[in-house]
């Protein structure tokens, strides 16, 4: 089976009903995408398919119809995406385990809406659970990133 992940073509030998999450983590070694619940309740596994945020634990690899971008493909420590940059600026993470998913959801929100209101943020981020409770900083970081994107 062929997949496009972070701009690269990848070949995997797996059954089509395996969730994309486990293909990324255990077959391709892309462990930035996290397993939290397995039933689309926590959002830790969020990736982009053709720019849209999807829960990779609920997307069978056989149903992947577009290019996949994971947290590793969004930006790197040496070249941060605007959202990651805002996350660092606001020192958002505590345990950090949910933050890959939070950042992928936030990046998609800002792709479609560069001046999100609090209600827009609530709607876009409501599926991403943070057990540590970093929501106040997530909200602030999204607003910072939005401002930077507007100024860019």
């Amino acid at each position: 089976m062929k997949l496009s992940v972070n701009g690269k073509d990848r070949e995997v030998d797996v059954e089509p009903d395996m969730p994309l999450l486990w293909v990324l983590r255990d077959e391709l070694g892309l462990t930035g995408t996290k397993y939290g619940c397995g039933v689309a309740q926590c959002g830790a596994c969020t990736v982009h398919m053709d720019g849209l945020a999807v829960r990779s634990c609920q997307l069978a690899v056989g149903d992947v119809t577009g290019d996949i971008t994971t947290i590793e493909g969004l930006g790197t420590p040496d070249s941060l995406h605007a959202v990651q940059d805002a996350w660092v600026e606001h020192q958002v993470a505590q345990c950090g385990y949910c933050q890959s998913g939070q950042i992928m959801s936030a990046a998609q929100l800002l792709d479609f809406n560069d001046s999100p209101t609090d209600a827009d943020i609530d709607a876009a981020m409501g599926g991403n659970l943070c057990r540590c409770g970093t929501y106040p900083r997530i909200r602030a970081a999204i607003k910072s990133a939005a401002q930077k994107i507007q100024e860019a």
Binding site: C42, P77, N128, R131
Partner: protein
Amino acid sequence: MGRARTIGRRSFLIGSAAIAGGVAFGVYTARTPFANPNLKELQQGTASFNPWVIVDSDKVTLIATHADKGQGIFSAQAALIAEELDIDLDQVEVSFGMPDKAYFNGAAIDAMAGFPLYDNSPTAERVRGFLGGVVKLALPMMATGGSSAIPDTYEKLRHAGACARETLKLAASQQSGVPVGQLKTERGSVILPDGTALSYTSLAGIAATIEPVEKVALRDPKDWKLAGKPMNRVDMVQKCTGTLDYGIDFETEDMVYAAIKVNPRQGGAMNSYDASAAKEMKGVKDVLEITGGVAVIADNTWRAIQASNAIEFDWGEAPYPAEQADHWKVLEETFTEESLNAEARVEGDVDAAEGEEVTGEYRSPYIAHAPLEPLNATILVTDERVDIWTGHQIQMFVESIVAGITGVDQENVHLHNKFMGGSFGHRLEFDFIKQAAEIANQMRGTPVKMTYSREEDFAHDFPRHITMGRGVAKHKDGKVTSLDVQIAGQSVMRSQMGRMGMSLPGPDAQLHEGAWDAPNFNLPNLRVRSYLTEALAPVSSWRAVGAGPNVFIYETLLDEAIHAAGADPLEERIRLMGHDVSVKVLEKVGEISNWNGANLGENRGRGVAYGFSFGVPVATVVEVTNTDRGIKLDGVWVAADVGKVIDPGNLENLGQGGTVWGLGHAINCEITYSDGMAEQSNYHAHEGMRIWQCPPITFAALENSPKVRGFGEPPVPPSAPALGNAIFAATGQRIREMPFNKHIDFV
């Protein structure tokens, strides 16, 4: 200052444990330091001045052994060393190091000495010092818990940095011939009077030949350059780019993957199982028996989990009541003389006190820790050595338990501690370690990564203990005159330490923590009694432990009495307090929340609560609106006093996050048992707070306490009663049971 009267009446938890073990040492011997473990395998030309600092020709490595569950202690430890070492955090490598008794936690015992943590009297300090000495020799345990990592490291690590700095100056003096007194240090270099900078790494070779300096005076915090100001956590960029390796992300060559199924009736037996279908599934390599269940070994985590779900089991009965209603019944019947754990606090005479009575019964449910990273461990067992990759809060116990299971000498069992995707207390437990070790021991030579499915994680969470409280308050002439609080619950410590093979005689102080030590010194009549039952589900330390349920009980009862008296909830709490540091915390939260400001208007209300846990007074104000769709949280204000702030940015994050944790669980989380099994299997049934429920949270830190304290847990306890008290103010409905959504809707 009111205090419990005699030591004999106190809950003398660890003291009795150590004495039961036949150990008693004087303080003097106990202060003998342990050898520096870094010297064991030190390369030529590398210097290590103490267990926390290593310098070679390439880099400076700081050893930060306290486990990081998200609280930021990895970074804080590095900052404490770097502050005195005169080096910036972007110039060092930080490592968890390897477990060794040199890294024992010297502060965890403070809370268990039988004195409230606001009591700094000579007697209290002497007992703490003695117990610290006993623990250091009898049980020199590395542990990260009880919000103790900052108190443990605050002086020790600055001292380590200072000693390393002074030794490097000696090396520079030897190399340059310039007297030490004329040398300065900054940004990782020793600076000669002519401005020449000798980097620490260039001095490693000479420094390695010098006897390390062991005694240096610490700088006054007002001269700090790094600590005390907002910092960039050293793990932040990795956490924002998916490049940090948590335990669950560990990969090594030829690794196989395991999923387990263990009797969901916690502690029950596995009567039989049929794995014939599972064994035929793609990628499955084996099905192995482990204690209480089986493990599926596969070439991929998902395949292992799928196959584990295809196994049929006949599970044995639970060793506790099968139905939740019976758990509450047990507690109802525990308020008896025979079950008395401790009469922990007696001031005045609550029976003779005058005033009109207010009574209440309060319930705090079982709650899961459910850290977002499911429990996991990777273990490789060979005949000679064992390697373990996981995140754990009691590192050396992991090694000793795995040594016991594999028969490999403990000195050849090595835990490589990993960052944790949360713990909240669950990674103090050992079942997942034992299971992974039992699996890997049957597959010697092959590394095995065992990952809990989220469902398995919920089924085996060892939740927060359930608690029932009964209270009688009295008020007269607009003032609260008396509180009589009874608490019935389980001993978390006995349940938890029982699973570690240790018994704890004597009463358990956690059972009344947060109530017995409420510093309401101006309340003339106060009695706190706790009652113990052991006939319930196994439980574990859950963020803030006893103070969570108990502050809810205490502060809700107090609020009821204040309202009945017609007094102002904040003013009356300040009047009753009498503990200066706490009074200032209450005044601060009043100031930042504009408590005395304009009336909130129709259908709105504000509530306040105070909690004292792990030595930290915290006051929380919550404002809510009663909308036609339910209660909406409008704003939260939190004030706390930690003595000394290491990183104000991280402290605020913990203050907000701990409040979100306390509020979210109070609103909608509980674990209930049916047929002996937890009914909640995933986050849909145990959700906590989501971003759309999270109001703005304003945080203020004070530094009036005489001792520095940790802040992982203290924000939690007052949040739930502050919310309940706000709901009462807005609606007139008094909620005495968590989760609150059983009684009222939330937006």
